[in-house]
Structures are given as structure tokens and as C-alpha cells.
């Protein structure tokens, strides 16, 4: 558990966030005590980077689910064209997401499978399904309970980026995480 938390922190930390002094995880990460004052992970977004002395015990407590989804601790993972394979980079993202899910055991998520516009609307429904399921299967392989993770395919119906270039397409080929309970 500690290891994974650390990995999660490292993954987040590598995302070019300001290197805030990270609080040391309490030595006794309890095994099964309920949310045991977990170590505050690095804030995903530098909201108030400095001089906020008491970091809330649970960063989720003060935020609505919509707020969380606007600035989610769960990062999307991206796919290659016409592919539903979880890449090495995708695995790192899913490991970080798994760490968050472990940290907040009440959190439930839906993984949305999305595709770029270059496939057909019909076949992309199947491809999006496979992407979402591939991401879910990897999370489950990391020990996340299957019943916490739902999937849904949106094909190419809801692009994140309305553009028609490589960057937009890459951004739209994703497994997108939506928090449904915390």
C-alpha cells in the first residue's frame, strides 16, 4: 500500500507540478482503519500553492462530485488509433488512478470509452466499449474491486476536443474517469 501510494505520488509529481514540500506519510498507515488521516497527496492543481497551513484531512470532503470531476484526481489515459490496448504510459496512469481509488475506498467511478472521429460512428461504439473495459480490467488486475468501476462507451459521440487534427484526435481517444460517488 505504501509502495503504491508512493508510486502514485511520484507519477503525479512528475506532471510538472510545483514541487511542494510533500508531507511525510505517517509511518503507520493503518491496515484497515477507516480513512486514517491519509497523507495528503500533492495537490493535482496548484490552487493555493503556498501558505495553507492545515491541509484538510480528506481533500475530497470539501468538494462536490462535480467539483472533483472538473479537476479530477483520476487522470484520463489515451489510446493509439483504432486500438484498445493499454500502453506502458497508460499503465502508469492507471496505476496512479488505482492509488487514488485505494486511498478513497468509497470512491466509485465510471470509465468512459471515447474515440476520435476518424472511425465510423457505429464501430466506434464497440471500440469505445473495448477501451473502457481494457482500462477497467487493468484496474481490477491492480486489486481494485470490480464493483467500484463501471464502464460506458460513448464512441465518437462526445469528443473532448472539437478540432480535426492529430492533437485533437489524440485527446479524444481516451478512457475518461468520472467519479460517481466519493
Amino acid at each position: 500500500m505504501v509502495l503504491l501510494l508512493t508510486m502514485g505520488g511520484a507519477a503525479c509529481g512528475s506532471k510538472a507540478k510545483p514541487p511542494v514540500a510533500r508531507p511525510q506519510p505517517p509511518a503507520s498507515v493503518a491496515d484497515n482503519s477507516p480513512p486514517p488521516k491519509p497523507p495528503a497527496p500533492p495537490q493535482p492543481i496548484a490552487e493555493q500553492p503556498i501558505s495553507v497551513p492545515p491541509i484538510p484531512a480528506d481533500e475530497l470532503s470539501g468538494r462536490s462530485i462535480d467539483d472533483l470531476n472538473r479537476d479530477s484526481p483520476l487522470k484520463p489515459m489515451f489510446f493509439a488509433l483504432d486500438s484498445a490496448e493499454v500502453s506502458g504510459e497508460g499503465q502508469q496512469i492507471l496505476q496512479a488512478n488505482a492509488a487514488v481509488l485505494r486511498k478513497y475506498p468509497n470512491m466509485q467511478v465510471t470509465i468512459e470509452g471515447h474515440c476520435d472521429e476518424r472511425g465510423t460512428a457505429e464501430y466506434n461504439l464497440a471500440l469505445g466499449e473495448r477501451r473502457a473495459v481494457a482500462a477497467r480490467n487493468y484496474l481490477v488486475s491492480l486489486g481494485i474491486a470490480a464493483d467500484r468501476v463501471k464502464t460506458v462507451s460513448y464512441g465518437k459521440e462526445f469528443p473532448f476536443d472539437a478540432g480535426h487534427d492529430d492533437a485533437a484526435w489524440a485527446n479524444n481517444r481516451r478512457a475518461h474517469f468520472v467519479i460517481t460517488a466519493k
Binding site: N69, A121, E122, Y123, A126, E129, R130, V133, V152
Partner: protein, 478 residues
């Protein structure tokens, strides 16, 4: 009001309380062109492809040369109908019926429709006695459709007759009475009946298209991202009279008509997850043949309407399933680690075509309805959305990746040959055959946004059907 009947011609209801055959008492003569020099051959001839782009008013020697010796095509004129009442509604109906009838008859390309602006000076006739046959003969018309619209107790009375210019007599006639609310339907009905009577052809003038659209510009509720809903719409085959079918403010896509035209099955995210819903559009009820089990997509009715093929991930991987409409007798048709998607039925209901990427890329396959006899049809870089033509054509149309986008191709099952009917103007996807197999509806971005178009099976006669918002995944009613 008779609007209920008029509003839903797909039902196959007669337009009017009385639709009377009024062909002349003498044995109706088959109206055929007999003027080789005047004819425009179907195969290589020149035809107006759109009512907004008529051929030049006067035919030229070049046209005559181009027609060659092909079967002489009957030349029809459809002058304005005569309004026998002075009120605006009747006058408007007379104008609309003439215009729409010209378009309907032109659409099947079974007749050559003489452009309407070439005979504005020829007086319309209210009865056979006054048809100026000599003038029509001068114009080179083989047939002329004349008609009247008259105020009646229940709305209007519409009388339409096809006259043989050569024989100087009526060869086909119909009389309708009913509401004046949708005069287009009188034209559609007469066109279909004329095609059936004169050419034993099932016209599509009363058919409808179903499609999904974002034209209502509503946002999905309860998502952080801005997402626009898509709802299922229907419209006449020519795009007129669009009507919204679903109202649940989520994704409602890939609609498919039931054979009787009373129901539309579609993929709906109404519950939050994709599932197959059926809207009974006259009864105002809904069905869920998949009973909410798993996630289900892309439903299509079997030709007899009793079963639905669809794609589902209920067993962990996208596969093709068939279920009775009432939810009983679920059969899994494919069992493969690859992705199976987008089923469609053969006209007889004994086979299905679908998409599989078991070869590494999405390709169209066929399989018997019991799961046996798998056969790969396409060898494209990417092929999807097969649609199986009705008899007598034995063809499967599909969308094939031809570059950055897709084009519509048609595979001839007998010959194994594939031909292409769109050529890289935008992307062209989601083909769907018309019930008589002569036309395809499809989605294209050639006009900018995603819109529904129709085109004939030879790639000609392209028409844009939708213009409002974006519109996708058309399906043609029977």
C-alpha cells in the same frame, strides 16, 4: 381533422377517405415513350438530378445524340394544378402538389420529367376536354399530369390524372379527399400509385427517414463537460416534415425502423448506459427488448419484425446477439475475442452481415442466422455499417475508409465485385438502402457539417435531405 392520418403516411394508410381510381373506361394503355429521338436513356442519358437544377429548357441535338439507342424514356410534364376554390389554403395546396409531384416522379428516374419552367405558358386543364394536347405534343411530352384542388367539407378534394398525349385520353387517375394540412402527401401518394400502375415499381415517395440529430441544441444534464444531446428524428424521404421522436436529453442514436413503420429501435443512453429501446411512435409507448441486461447497441429489426439483432458487451466483449422483440429467445451469434459490431439482416432474414475486426481491421462478414456459414466479404482498410439491399438487387453497401475519411461502396454478392459511389467529398458513412433498393441514404460532411443525403445506387441523383444542426445514422422506412 384528419391530420393524424396525414401526419403518418408511413403507416401505409390511404391519404383520404376516398381514393378512387378514375382511369378512363377504355383499357388503360401503358404509357411508354415512343420517340427515340426524344428519349433520354437511363443508362447514359442526361437527366435533371435535382429539381433546383433543371436541365436546359430546350433540349439540344447533343442531348439527343447522347441518348443513343437506349430504351426511350417517357417524357412527362406536371403543370400547376388548378385551384377551384379561391382561399389561400387551396391555392397553396395546388401549387405544392404540382411541385412535389414533379420531384417525386423525377426521383425514381423512371420517367423523364420535363422541367416545369418550359411549359408555364401552356394552360392547365381542369378536365380532359380542355387539355391542350397539341401544345403538349409540341413540347415533346408523352404524358401530362393535370389535376384540380377543390375545397371540400372535410378539407380538400384533389383529383389527378395522367393523360397520354398521343392517345389524347386519360390513362390513370386518382381522387383524394382529406385534410389540407399536408398537401405534399397527396403528391407522394399519387406518385407511388402512378409508379406502381405504370411501371410496377414501388416508389419511395411516402417513405420516411429516421436519423439522430443535435438540432435541438440541448446539453446533456449532469455532466461536467459540455455535451450535446442527440435525439431521434424522422422526416419524409425528401426531408420535409421533420419530427422529433425521443425527448430524453441524452444520446439517442442509430435508429432503425420496424418493417411496419410503426416502431423505431435505437441505441439510447436514457438510463445512463447504452441500451436498446423501441419507440412505438403511434402508440406513444416504449419497449426494452434487452431488459436492461448489459450494454446494448445498434439494434436492427429482422425483415418480419419479430426479432432484433444488436451488439452487446454483456458477456465482456462486443458480440452480435439476436433476441425476439418481446425479449425472449436470446441467441449469441458470434463468439470471438475480436470486436463484432453493426449487424444488419438479409432481406429474407436468413442471414446477417456485420463488422468484425478479427482480421486486424474492421471488415464486413456475413453469417447465417443460426451462426453457421461465416464468410468475409470486404478487404478494405476499414469497412463498417453494412446494409443489405432488398431484392432484386443482391448487394451490400458499406462505408469504407478511402483516405482521411470514408466513402460508400457497394459489394455485389453474386459477382463479388465492389463499386464505389461517393468519392472523397467529405466523409461519407452510415449507408442505408431505400425499401426499393434504388437509393441509399447516408451521412456526409461534404456540405460542412454532418448531414443526411440520398443518392441512387449508381451514384447519381445526390440530394441533401437535412440542413438543421448535425444529423447522423439515417435509416429508411419500409
Amino acid at each position: 381533422m384528419m391530420t393524424t392520418r396525414l401526419r403518418w403516411p408511413v403507416l401505409g394508410l390511404m391519404v383520404a377517405a376516398s381514393a378512387v381510381a378514375i382511369a378512363s373506361p377504355s383499357a388503360p394503355e401503358e404509357l411508354r415513350g415512343d420517340r427515340a429521338e426524344a428519349a433520354v436513356g437511363r443508362a447514359g442519358g442526361q437527366q435533371p438530378t435535382s429539381p433546383t437544377q433543371p436541365t436546359p429548357p430546350q433540349r439540344t441535338a447533343v442531348e439527343v445524340t447522347l441518348t443513343g439507342e437506349g430504351g426511350a424514356q417517357t417524357r412527362l410534364a406536371v403543370p400547376d394544378l388548378i385551384a377551384l376554390s379561391n382561399d389561400q389554403e387551396t391555392q397553396d395546396a395546388a401549387r405544392v402538389i404540382g411541385e412535389v409531384l414533379w420531384n417525386d416522379l423525377n426521383y425514381e428516374r423512371e420517367f423523364y420529367l420535363i422541367p416545369r419552367d418550359t411549359y408555364k405558358t401552356i394552360p392547365s386543364a381542369a378536365s380532359m376536354d380542355t387539355v391542350p394536347f397539341d401544345r403538349w405534343r409540341e413540347l415533346g411530352a408523352d404524358g401530362v399530369v393535370s389535376g384540380i384542388v377543390q375545397r371540400a367539407a372535410s378539407g380538400v378534394r384533389v383529383e389527378l390524372r395522367l393523360y397520354s398525349v398521343r392517345a389524347r385520353q386519360s390513362v390513370f387517375g386518382r381522387e383524394y379527399t382529406g385534410s389540407v394540412a399536408n398537401p405534399r402527401l397527396y403528391a407522394h401518394t399519387f406518385s407511388d400509385e402512378l409508379h406502381l400502375s405504370q411501371r410496377n415499381l414501388r416508389g419511395v415517395a411516402r417513405t420516411k427517414l429516421a436519423f439522430s440529430s443535435d438540432r435541438n441544441r440541448e446539453a446533456v444534464i449532469a455532466t461536467v463537460e459540455k455535451r450535446e444531446v442527440k435525439e431521434v428524428y424522422i422526416a419524409d424521404y425528401d426531408g420535409a416534415n421533420p419530427r422529433r421522436i425521443t425527448i430524453n436529453r441524452t444520446l439517442n442514436i442509430t435508429p432503425a425502423w420496424s418493417p411496419d413503420g410503426r416502431s423505431i429501435a435505437y441505441t439510447s443512453y436514457r438510463s445512463g448506459l447504452p441500451d436498446v429501446l423501441i419507440s412505438n411512435i403511434f402508440a406513444g409507448t416504449m419497449e426494452n427488448p434487452t431488459k436492461g441486461v448489459g450494454q446494448n447497441f445498434l439494434p436492427v429489426f429482422s425483415p418480419d419484425g419479430s426479432r432484433i439483432a444488436f451488439m452487446s458487451s454483456r458477456d465482456g466483449n462486443p458480440e452480435i446477439y439476436v433476441v425476439n422483440r418481446d425479449g425472449s429467445n436470446l441467441v449469441r451469434l458470434t463468439n470471438n475475442a475480436a470486436t463484432e459490431s453493426t449487424p444488419t439482416w438479409s432481406p429474407s432474414g436468413t442471414q446477417l452481415a456485420f463488422t468484425s475486426d478479427r482480421s486486424g481491421t474492421p471488415q464486413v462478414y456475413t453469417v447465417n442466422a443460426d451462426g453457421s456459414g461465416l464468410r468475409r466479404l470486404t478487404s478494405e482498410s476499414y469497412a463498417d455499417r453494412a446494409t443489405w439491399s432488398p431484392a432484386p438487387y443482391n448487394e451490400i453497401a458499406f462505408a469504407a475508409r478511402t483516405g482521411p475519411g470514408f466513402d460508400i461502396k457497394i459489394y455485389n454478392i453474386a459477382s463479388g465485385e465492389t463499386r464505389q459511389i461517393t468519392f472523397g467529398e467529405g466523409t461519407n458513412e452510415s449507408p442505408a438502402w431505400s425499401p426499393n433498393g434504388r437509393h441509399l441514404a447516408f451521412m456526409s460532411t461534404r456540405a460542412g457539417r454532418s448531414q443526411i443525403f440520398t443518392v441512387d445506387r449508381d451514384g447519381r441523383n445526390l440530394r441533401q435531405i437535412t440542413r438543421d444542426g448535425n444529423n447522423w445514422t439515417p435509416h429508411w422506412s419500409q
